[in-house]
């Protein structure tokens, strides 16, 4: 509810609020500017009588002395029939210079309070101030919810991007913006009579004065007892009118002074109501509170950024599939709980929501923090969550665990957890794992064991979807791809074909990437184009004609090799591999890069053991090519027949010669030896063990069958070291790219 209350008025008001804020920022500087040029005597040093006396000596026709809240003293006078105004030094009465209110500030002020539209504009400005109050309050509730509590607001936010910028700025600006908005609303409301205003504090004009000889202004008691720093305004009597009086207005009150006696004939102290109103105005304008003015200006400065990031956050939320048709917790037979730091997990959850709804389920989606005490009709519970930092809950799940303690599982509720994370981080998807355990120990039954999606991989997400479809029997097909990637134009420049004779047709395809004009611009700017910046081990997504579901291939080259190289085995009936195998040099395809920084040799001089089979050699060959530092690098690779599918044979030879590759062991299954790659590892068990003991890193690329066999062998090899693949994985020393 807060979100809607925050966004829609905000969106409508944004252009006006930005204008109000920018003009407000300019006006906020004014008190500080005035203050910096004003001479302010210390309290008790100069009385109004002294000031008035020194002023009339220099300005015999002075009509009015005014002190601005910033301390500037202005004398209004008439000389030779011409009106004038000078700034004077309050300590000496000396002229500082002519006074002319800044035309710029006046114009900005009119823009600020009425959009230069008089009354209608003032109404609009008042309405906007009220909207701003609403924005501040709704925003504060959203911030508190995001932070996980009001006190936690002090600690700040995690995450990144627009949403983080918006929250952090709002956190700092909130008080200032709320103050400006509230005081502005009040001023507007009193002006239009919506709120009562304390009565004007001026005493009535005196009916009777003593009518005697005027005293010199410097000896008037009422003026002598008033400090110049308390002065607002002193209006002199009309020249030659003995029945006229001095009007004095100070911080404490206002009154009229008899010219002849120098005493007040009428005086009224400022009422509390008046003082309150005065403070409200000062809090809004910063008049006489230059430091507050600057702070408020700083807060207002955030408004344009808040408006833009706010709209962008909303937009990305919409684009990532904000939940539509959300069932109530009481009606839902399926519940999706979302733990998200930014918003990317929501996109995946939105896809799941839509697919489940299409499959006839009645789905309720909510933040994990919004876990109900009970879902009376639910039979399926999905938790999609990221992990923050070192295994902590993301923003929208910060209170999930404590809420779970109150959760009643009244139905036969089955759950599945899907974690989102990045394998580069040590405690990958730790929070998802914790939630899985917590739900199980709360008595819920697992629908399936927890699954994980690395780096928002659409492929892993859709794989999870397929498994889910199998387990539940629901007809769902998940295909969420968070940010539609920028497409690269790729021209096939050459191809090398292998393995046709051994029923493993595999081709090495080399493409020239072309990002079109954008690349040209970047070349001029001498910048690397992120579109064509890739590394061996990254993936390229390619959609075969007539299919919008991309297939991913590991890259065998890096962007600085100049060409984009992939190694593709044609699968029987494979739509995309068949399409790629059908390409002839000169033909073009489109694809997009999906970075895969996790599958890369770690920097440093530890040995690297590369293990692959078939087309899995692609990224491994790319790593070897990049091994310019000549770190120890060993390749174990399995093919079918050295005469048919020995991929990269000449390259590997030259890598061995120039020592980019330290050792090579190949295994061929269709020779007399009939060996597989795991057999070669077994033969080399002692060496492999020694290298792992020395800190070697293992990278495996190939089919899942091969990967499983390799795992078994390696685990055997590791036994004497009292460690296993799991612990190596946690150290980032056992990486797999398996398909």
């Amino acid at each position: 509810m807060w979100r809607k209350l925050h966004f829609y008025p905000g969106l409508l008001a944004a252009p006006f609020l930005i204008l109000l804020a920018i003009t407000g920022v300019i006006l906020a500087v004014s008190p500080a500017l005035e203050r910096s040029s004003a001479v302010v005597p210390s309290d008790g040093m100069i009385s109004v009588a002294q000031l008035a006396q020194s002023v009339v000596e220099r300005y015999p026709s002075a009509e009015q002395i005014k002190r601005t809240p910033s301390g500037a003293v202005i004398v209004y006078y008439t000389r030779d029939g011409k009106p004038g105004a000078d700034l004077v030094n309050p300590e000496t009465g000396e002229t500082i210079g002519p006074y002319e209110p800044s035309a710029l500030f006046r114009w900005v002020k009119d823009l600020h309070r009425s959009f230069l539209l008089d009354e209608a504009g003032r109404v609009l400005a008042g309405v906007l101030a009220a909207i701003m109050v609403l924005m501040c309050i709704s925003g504060a509730f959203m911030l508190a919810r995001r932070a996980g509590g009001w006190l936690l607001l002090l600690r700040g936010f995690k995450g990144s991007g627009d949403s983080r910028v918006h929250s952090e700025l709002a956190r700092f600006a909130l008080i200032g913006l709320l103050l400006s908005a509230l005081t502005g609303s009040y001023m507007s409301a009193t002006r239009f009579g919506l709120l009562p205003e304390p009565a004007d504090n001026e005493p009535p004009f005196p009916m009777e004065v003593s009518d005697g000889e005027p005293l010199p202004v410097g000896s008037m008691e009422a003026l002598r007892s008033t400090d110049v720093n308390n002065l607002r305004e002193l209006v002199f009597p009309y020249p030659g009118d003995p029945r006229d009086v001095f009007s004095l207005s100070t911080r404490q009150g206002a009154g009229f002074i008899d010219q002849a006696t120098g005493q007040f004939v009428e005086y009224k102290s400022a009422s509390t109501g008046n003082q309150v109103v005065e403070w409200i105005v000062r809090l809004h304008t910063g008049e006489g509170l230059w430091w507050l003015g600057l702070l408020l200006g700083l807060a207002a400065l955030t408004v344009p950024v808040l408006s833009i990031t706010g709209i962008r956050v909303w937009w990305s939320r919409r684009a990532s599939g904000d939940v539509q048709d959300n069932a109530s917790p009481a009606d839902a037979d399926t519940v999706i709980l979302i733990g998200s730091e930014g918003n990317s997990t929501r996109g995946f959850a939105g896809d799941l929501h839509a697919q489940l709804s299409r499959a006839g389920r009645c789905v309720h989606s909510a933040d994990m923090n919004a876990l109900a005490e009970e879902y009376p009709r639910a039979s399926l519970l999905f938790v999609l969550t990221s992990t923050y930092g070192d295994g902590a809950a993301p923003a929208s799940a910060s209170r999930f665990m404590e809420k779970l303690a109150l959760f009643r599982c009244s139905t036969n509720l089955k759950f599945a957890v899907l974690g989102f994370g990045d394998r580069q981080f040590p405690r990958f998807c730790q929070f998802a794992k914790d939630v899985d355990v917590a739900l199980a120990s709360h008595g819920l039954a697992r629908l399936q064991s927890p699954a994980f999606v690395d780096q928002k991989s659409p492929e892993q997400f859709s794989q999870w979807g397929s498994r889910l479809a199998e387990v539940t029997g629901l007809n769902i097909r998940l295909s969420h791809n968070p940010a539609p990637p920028a497409l690269l134009d790729l021209e096939l420049v050459d191809r090398a074909d292998f393995g046709v004779e051994v029923e493993a047709p595999t081709s090495i395809l080399r493409f020239r990437p072309d990002a079109g004009t954008k690349r040209w611009i970047n070349r001029v700017g001498n910048k690397r184009d992120p579109l064509v910046d890739f590394h061996a081990g990254d993936l390229i997504g390619v959609c075969p004609p007539g299919d919008d579901k991309p297939r991913y291939y590991s890259l065998a080259s890096s962007s600085d090799d100049g060409l984009l190289e992939i190694c593709v085995r044609r699968l029987p009936g494979g739509k995309c591999s068949g399409f790629l195998h059908g390409l002839q040099p000169g033909e073009r395809i489109q694809g997009f890069i999906q970075p895969n920084p996790e599958f890369r040799p770690a920097p440093g001089s530890h040995p690297v053991i590369l293990i692959g089979a078939g087309a899995g050699i692609g990224p491994l060959a790319g790593f070897i090519r990049k091994n310019d530092a000549r770190h120890p690098m060993y390749l174990y690779w399995g093919g079918r027949d050295p005469h048919s599918d020995y991929l990269y044979r000449p390259e590997l030879g030259s890598y061995l010669r120039d020592q980019r590759l330290t050792g090579l062991r190949t295994a061929f299954s269709r020779t007399r030896e009939s060996a597989y790659v795991q057999d070669k590892l077994n033969e080399d068990a002692q060496n492999v063990r020694k290298m792992i003991e020395m800190g070697a890193q293992v990278l495996v690329c190939g089919g899942s069958g091969m990967a499983a066999e390799v795992r078994a062998v390696i685990n055997n090899i590791l036994k004497p070291l009292k460690t296993d693949i799991e612990s190596l994985k946690q150290e980032g020393r056992y990486l797999e790219d398996v398909y």
Partner: protein, 156 residues
């Protein structure tokens, strides 16, 4: 370019009784090109001693600012009854306020004076920016003000 704010025949029943001997008087008040917001004006009548007799017109709608029309405020004591129905918009820099009143003959050529007090936000207040006797002789003769009024003319 001059634009005219024209206010027609507001009959002042309270003070200027609309007798058979009332005369229609047109007042033109042209402002200088001061730099500032719309000016507040009070046009009022005093006797020869400067004692307030009655309000002719107040330009400016926000009574909060009326106290800055100092001479008028003092004389009228800012009582609402003094100006009720005699107010209009404030006058922008450089423009002219034209308004027509029925004024009893007894105020003409009898020592009465027209005063115009002016005030602009954040600028000086001008008590008796214009001060001119209301006489048949003075009709049609522009008088310069000493504040925001460039020229003030009345015509019968």
């Amino acid at each position: 370019m001059r634009k005219y704010f024209v206010v027609f025949g507001l009959v002042m029943t309270m003070f200027f009784s609309a007798t058979a001997s009332a005369r229609e008087v047109t007042f033109d008040t042209q402002l200088t090109n001061y730099r500032g917001d719309g000016a507040y004006l009070a046009i009022y009548l005093t006797d020869s001693n400067g004692v307030y007799q009655g309000t002719l017109w107040i330009a400016g709608r926000d009574s909060e600012y009326y106290k800055h029309l100092r001479g008028w405020a003092r004389g009228s004591r800012m009582r609402r009854a003094e100006y009720d129905g005699l107010t209009g918009a404030s006058i922008t820099s450089g423009r002219t306020l034209t308004m027509t009143m029925n004024i009893d003959d007894s105020f003409i050529d009898n020592g009465y004076e027209i005063h115009v007090d002016t005030a602009v936000e954040d600028r000086r207040d001008n008590r008796s920016d214009v001060m001119v006797p209301l006489t048949s002789e003075g009709a049609g003769k522009p008088v310069a003000g000493r504040g925001y009024v460039k020229s003030f003319t009345y015509n019968f």
